[in-house]
Amino acid sequence: MSAFEVSGLTASFGGERVLGPLSLSVDKGDKVALVGRSGAGKSTLIRLLYQQVGQQASLVPQDLGLVNALPVFHNVFMGQLDRHSTWYNGWTLIRPFAADQSVVSQLLGELGMAEKLWTPTAALSGGQRQRVAIARAIYRQSDLLLADEPVSALDGPRAHQVMALLRDRFATSVVAMHDVELALAYCTRIIGIQNGMVALDEPSERLVASDIMSLY
């Protein structure tokens, strides 16, 4: 069954076409890795997909989109602002409810940063900030994940841990990444982007790292 289907996607920058025309069909359960050289159009594609699916997906953009002045808890909580009344949200800003705290705290524990619950986001390292954006995406509890280099600032074991978590928490995902080994390990389908076009689209079990390297 199809999770989403797009066709004729294009994007131009300064009058020059940087992406497409490109068509893509993603089935429910697909774990897609978008690979390709930087500048190939992966980020643009993720953005366009987010707009195409009507923002129903959990998005982890490359610049993370965190509110630096708020602590980690509130940044994660923002993933569920639509589920509560304005009063509930407003009160949470002043004094968070215990139930929400324990859920967010547990989620952060799985990402290895439970102790940072009340740290202002501005005071975190790059890898920690990345995990806060991931926690927010997971907390939103949508079926579809769109992520742009979500583990680029994480070290080896941590990157594996986070990728496994993302694989388990989202039914369907499209993740742009440059680490070929991670892509093969945690995704079921590899789409290679070259010069704004699909240059490769295969199930990952049929590929080895060297097949993908030709894109770079």
């Binding site: 923002q55 509110v67 002045a69 509130h74 923002m78 602002l81 639509d82 009344s85 927010r136 939103r140």
Partner: protein, 488 residues
């Protein structure tokens, strides 16, 4: 050097000021100006804090009016900022902030009388216009990405509270605190039209020649401003704001009949009120333009242009006083004290004092405007030079000033100066109340002769002139690609 647009613009403004000087009335008319000035300084160094309990009351009222006025202005300004993108709101805000606090006070005095509401609204209304503009600029600069990432269906208010306010909160707080300092100055000068704040006390002391009392008031005022970081704390702020309304004093009760009469009779142009119909409006307006508005505009513009250039010269001379690139710590400390005094004293107070000492002419106004505004710009530019790193073998002394530093800060100097152009004009107009023939003089005379219809037209003209200068200043800043943060 003449090929630089900034240099050419500066020279054009200097030339305009020199031509204006030919038409201006610059003189010292009092018989013993230096002796008076000496007596005054003697008063400042021998302050008398205990002459009457009036001083402490005036200080308390000044703080109370500032807090209530700025709080009301900031709350209304914030609401206006949310709809600032609509053109009618922008025009409305531009208009209310183009009218000086003292003009607002003069208007409200006519129908609310000496009720505390007069002072509160006189501060709150123009401040609301300024807050609306600056808050909306701050809110526009918030990072849009967190908003884009919110789940669809998030309420507008929730989105605003989480994704916009926290990002701007620090800037909003800094700017509001800064405005509170401006509010204290505004509140102090409201005393000059009769409200129970420091200006009233100063005028009373001066008229009796009690220079030591006036000196004590000035010193207390500087201490009040300089210690703001100590006594204005986020935790104490709610206490101040909630208790301030109780310290405004009783004033006199509002006579509602006056309010009704003001709007239905007083401000209706005389020919219409007397049943002459529209035909009488032409000669009435003609008389108003020829005998009040045009001379007022002419003198206001002349004085503004002279004061603008004087401000610039003073700022350029003053910034080395606080720059780390010159002098030792002792000289810099004196420089700081001088600039703090210059910029903390409202133009109006400076002009009032100098006018008492030197007699009526444009000179006290020019010196007052240059000292206050030059003090502010000099301080800002001087601070900016502290972040400049010079090469180790850079020239010293005068060559360092002319070759290394001035060229580097000249653009931001001009940006601040053109930003303050409109502020200088607003102040120039208001100084007319002290007896210099700018627009404020004609407004004040119209009010004294109970011609409120004429006064209101003149205030409208003043507002339009300010908006015009503001637009021109903005155009020049854009043309020269100068950027600046708001100062008051």
């Amino acid at each position: 050097m003449f090929s630089y647009p900034t240099v050419r613009t500066s020279l054009i403004f200097v030339a305009i000021a020199l031509v204006s000087l030919l038409f201006s009335d610059i003189a010292i008319t009092s018989s013993n100006p230096w002796q008076d000035l000496g007596n005054f300084f003697l008063g400042v160094v021998t302050p008398n804090f205990f002459s009457s309990e009036g001083l402490m009351t005036a200080l308390l009222r000044t703080v109370a009016f500032a807090f209530v006025g700025v709080a009301v202005g900031s709350a209304s300004g914030f609401l206006l900022a949310l709809v600032y993108r609509f053109l009618p709101v922008r025009i409305f805000c531009n208009f209310i902030r183009a009218i000086h606090e003292l003009f607002w006070a003069l208007i409200f005095l006519q129908f609310f009388g000496f009720h505390p509401l007069t002072g509160v609204l006189a501060i709150a209304i123009p401040y609301a216009g300024i807050f609306a503009k600056v808050y909306s600029e701050i809110l526009d600069e918030a990072d849009p990405e967190p908003r884009n990432l919110l789940p669809p269906g998030t309420g507008v208010i929730s989105a605003f509270l989480f994704a916009r306010i926290p990002d701007c909160w620090h800037q909003i707080r800094t700017y509001t605190a800064y405005r509170l300092e401006c509010g204290l100055r505004s509140s102090a000068i409201l005393g000059f039209v009769g409200l129970p704040t420091l200006g009233f006390y100063l005028e009373a002391s001066f008229s009796q020649g009690l220079y030591s009392d006036a000196g004590a008031m000035l010193i207390l005022f500087y201490v009040l401003i300089a210690t703001i970081p100590i006594w204005v704390r986020p935790k104490l702020l709610p206490i101040y704001v909630l208790s301030a309304p109780f310290f405004l004093g009783e004033g006199l009760p509002i006579v509602w009949g006056n309010v009704a009469r003001f709007f239905t009779q007083d401000i209706v142009p005389a020919p219409l009120r007397n049943g002459e119909g529209l035909a009488g409006l032409g000669p009435w307006l003609n008389d108003l333009m020829v005998n009040a508005a045009l001379p007022g505009i002419w003198n206001t513009v002349i004085l503004t242009q002279i004061a603008l250039v004087a401000t610039g010269i003073l700022a350029l001379l003053a910034f080395p006083l606080v720059s780390n690139h010159f002098g030792g710590p002792i000289r810099r400390t004196f420089g700081h004290v001088f600039l703090v005094i210059a910029r903390s004293t409202p133009e109006y107070v400076l002009a009032y004092i100098l006018l008492q000492l030197w007699g009526p002419s444009m000179l006290p106004a020019v010196v007052a405007l240059a000292l206050h505004n030059g003090g502010i710009i000099g301080h800002l530019i001087g601070r900016q030079t502290n972040s400049i790193r010079l090469r180790p073998d850079a020239p010293k002394g005068f060559n360092r000033y002319t070759w290394e530093l001035t060229p580097r800060v000249y653009r931001s100097f001009l940006a601040f100066l053109f930003y303050r152009w409109e502020i200088i004009m607003r102040e120039t107009a208001i100084l007319g109340i002290l007896g210099i023939y700018t627009l404020g003089f004609y407004v004040d005379s119209a009010i004294q002769n109970i011609h409120f219809d004429r006064a209101l037209v003149l205030i409208l003209i003043t507002a339009l002139l300010n908006i015009g200068i503001d637009t021109l200043g903005r155009y020049i800043r854009r043309k020269l690609a100068l950027q600046t943060m708001p100062t008051c």
